[in-house]
């Protein structure tokens, strides 16, 4: 499906997008609308997995054998340390995503002003809100508006909310008995037939590979753009360096190699380059592109590239409760409370989301009873049934932590790809203020989970902490001060006026809920600016 490369290794275009994930897909789509005359090339290191018809087969093999849902979606020797997903393919990590489309809250953009923490974002909330709406339209988000006035939205969700299953109805009744309000989680999944040319969700329960196409996936956008000849897509092509114009600080070219058997060198020339490779590979490419004029990497005169790697942490538990739950009705669908997105200035700082799912963990069949006696046949079922007479909920809260300047992506000279390029190594580190809140944050969740458990005679399970920062971002943070940031509020590199970094890398802080919608909203805002150049 990808455009065949010409024999010439040099390709020219009006815009070159480096990266082929969800951000790149939306950037390409919007650019094609705003600048229909421009030639746009999308360059992706991984393979094209645009074979929609194979999804049922991939899904079944994943269910039956645990095989990769997206076979070949990674590059063995592009092996970073500290990254949480190895996906490198057309579609990126959003091939696997669950489609959750929560918005951040205004507080995320005003941490310094409101709480004296971290930094403010160089963008007004009301403006970001408009781009949230645009992102929701493009992705096709179904959702239930929050009645909280601070969650005001200027447009309705494009589609009605995903209906609650029997299980979620029981869980909502229980969870709200605690006095906390919950809503269904907004998702980029069709609840009506035909939105974006895609089918309606059929609760297949494998959102990581949605066989019906109800869940948005970037490959749909790329396929459509390719069919309309609005872009060229060069897959299996690794951009390894950005090259400066010798007479200015503009980027003149991007160079790299094919990752097919030829390994052929390739070069891209364009008046504008858009880095849309996510928090890891965008940052990595800038560091790799160091030269005599920018010895610490491109866009890095401020020494900020690779710093402030961010994300959020979580506490999670299970709660056993007096409700009839049938695990498997729609396991990815969940409830969310936005009541803790806010923190009153002056109060101890804690901000988090709160999610509730049906749960099957720990509820499976057992081969031995409590005395160690063998169970088989009907006796096994009888024993099993005694253990599922009550239901369980899975509960998790992502909470807000802020990155230290030394929360970094660096080049690891000990790990190199086939070309000898050092691979990235990411070490997350939270700042001193976040560190000082650790005990209080844990105490808050202990109390909160216990409160939920008490509602309707629930029993609290073990509380565990996530051991990585989820929905990672940062590394090229945006800001108004070029001494403390890499890009301006539109993602334009302070040091190179024709280089835009879009999406995840530009976030100064990682919020306290799923971030993909925010990545894409910011990227769409960047495109508005890119189209003016």
């Amino acid at each position: 499906m990808a455009t065949q490369l010409r024999t010439s290794p040099v390709h020219e275009a009006d815009a070159v997008i480096i990266g082929g994930g969800i951000t790149a897909a939306l950037v390409a789509e919007k650019l094609a609308e705003l600048r229909p005359g421009w030639s746009v090339i999308v360059v992706e290191a991984g393979r094209s997995l645009l074979d929609f018809d194979s999804r049922y087969v991939y899904r079944q093999r994943s269910l039956d054998y645990g095989e990769n849902q997206w076979p070949g979606d990674f590059i063995p020797d592009q092996a970073p340390r500290g990254m949480i997903s190895r996906t490198m393919a057309v579609g990126g990590s959003a091939l696997h995503w669950g489609g959750v489309c929560n918005r951040f809250s205004e507080e995320d953009t005003r941490l310094k002003s409101l709480y004296g923490l971290a930094v403010d974002w160089p963008i007004e909330w009301k403006e970001l809100e408009r781009y949230y709406c645009e992102a929701e339209r493009r992705l096709g988000v179904s959702g239930e508006p929050s009645p909280l006035p601070e969650d005001w939205r200027s447009e309705p969700y494009p589609m009605p909310a995903m209906p609650m299953t029997w299980n979620l109805i029981q869980l909502k009744g229980w969870a709200e008995a605690s006095g906390i309000r919950f809503w269904t989680t907004p998702q980029a999944k069709n609840t009506v037939e035909g939105y974006g040319g895609r089918g309606k969700c059929r609760r297949c329960n494998t959102c990581e590979i949605c066989p019906t196409g109800a869940r948005y996936s970037p490959d749909f956008t790329f396929k459509s753009l390719l069919a309309a000849k609005k872009i060229q897509l060069h897959d299996q092509t690794l951009v390894r360096r950005l090259i400066l114009d010798p007479a200015s600080t503009r980027i003149a070219a991007a160079t790299g190699n094919r990752l097919d058997a030829t390994g052929a060198a390739v070069e891209y020339r364009a008046p504008r380059f858009i880095l849309a490779s996510g928090y890891c590979w965008s940052t990595h490419l800038l560091l790799l592109s160091a030269n005599s004029r920018f010895p610490d990497g491109l866009a890095n005169q401020s020494d900020q590239v690779g710093r402030y790697m961010t994300g959020h942490l979580a506490f999670q538990t299970t709660i056993d409760l007096d409700a009839r739950i049938y695990p498997g009705m729609n396991e990815q669908h969940s409830l969310i409370s936005r009541e803790y997105f806010r923190c009153k200035p002056g109060a101890p700082y804690i901000r988090h989301d709160l999610r509730v799912w049906e749960n099957s963990g720990g509820r499976g069949p057992a081969m031995r009873d409590a005395n160690g006696s063998l169970l088989m046949a009907d006796a096994l079922l009888t024993d099993w049934r005694t253990r599922i007479s009550r239901g369980t909920a899975r509960v998790r809260g992502y909470f807000d932590v802020h990155p230290d300047a030394d929360s970094r992506l660096t080049l690891d000279p000990a790990s190199k790809n086939r070309f000898g390029d050092p691979m990235p190594s990411i070490q997350h580190r939270i700042d001193a203020a976040s560190e000082s809140r650790r005990a209080a944050t844990r105490a808050h969740f202990d109390t909160l989970f216990a409160r939920l458990a008490r509602a309707r005679d629930g029993r609290l399970g073990q509380i565990s902490a996530l051991n990585y920062q989820d929905h990672p971002a940062g590394g090229c943070r945006m800001g108004t001060d070029r001494a403390t940031s890499v890009t301006d509020g539109f993602g334009r590199a302070h040091d190179h006026d024709n280089l835009f970094v879009v999406g995840a890398p530009t976030l100064p802080t990682g919020g306290c809920t799923n971030s993909t919608l925010t990545f894409t909203a910011l990227a769409l805002r960047s495109v508005t600016e890119i189209a003016k150049t």
Binding site: R203, P365, A366, L374, R385
Partner: protein
């Protein structure tokens, strides 16, 4: 993985089940298991799977187990782990490679009890053999989510009980965990399970 050649498979099937005819022999020719193996699996299922699900459901469970092994791929891409930068190692040797001595043990136990095959043992005797194999020398304590080859009997049990049909049997409801279905009846509890 093809453990038997076509000729051996056909011959074994004809010897073991002369009445089954060529159609059945041809059906098992491409299978990981011989017809005799499949008879043994049925005889195990008759003991370890719930009686209350009915014979047709047990037969389907055996068929699903056979199909799983027939379609197993060695060296398959197992993807990567979310939350870590690691890639999983490719899938290993077919678990069924470890079954022949286990089938042989079942056969030996049957012969020791005066039967020509495990499948021809009375149910109580089969149960005694199975319990002995699961309790000694080291008790088998878990049914794997997917067959591992370590215990043929536990693999067969795990294949059913850990799968959607096992969960439906437990809950007495047609949850149909991985079946694609309409959103329209989401709010209703799953229908009671139907037999047959």
């Amino acid at each position: 993985m093809k453990r038997r050649t076509l000729l051996k498979s056909v011959a074994a099937a004809l010897v073991a089940r002369p009445a089954a005819g060529l159609a059945q022999a041809a059906q098992t020719a491409a299978s990981t298991f011989t017809a005799a193996d499949i008879d043994t699996l049925r005889a195990i299922a008759d003991v370890v799977l719930p009686e209350q699900i009915g014979a047709p459901a047990r037969e389907r469970a055996v068929a699903a187990f056979v199909r799983w092994h027939d379609r197993y791929r060695e060296g398959a891409d197992m993807g990567h782990t979310y939350g870590a930068s690691t890639v999983r190692t490719a899938s290993g040797p077919a678990p069924a490679r470890r079954y022949p001595p286990q089938f042989a043990s079942l056969q030996d136990a049957a012969v020791a009890r005066g039967a020509k095959s495990f499948a021809l043992l009375p149910r109580d005797a089969r149960r005694a053999v199975i319990e002995a194999l699961l309790n000694t020398p080291t008790p088998v304590t878990r049914m794997p989510a997917q067959p591992t080859g370590a215990s043929l009997i536990a693999d067969l049990m795990g294949s059913f009980f850990n799968g959607p049909d096992g969960w439906d049997a437990c809950y007495g409801a047609e949850i149909r965990r991985y079946a694609c279905r309409t959103l329209d009846d989401s709010a209703e509890p799953p229908a009671p399970i139907r037999r047959g």
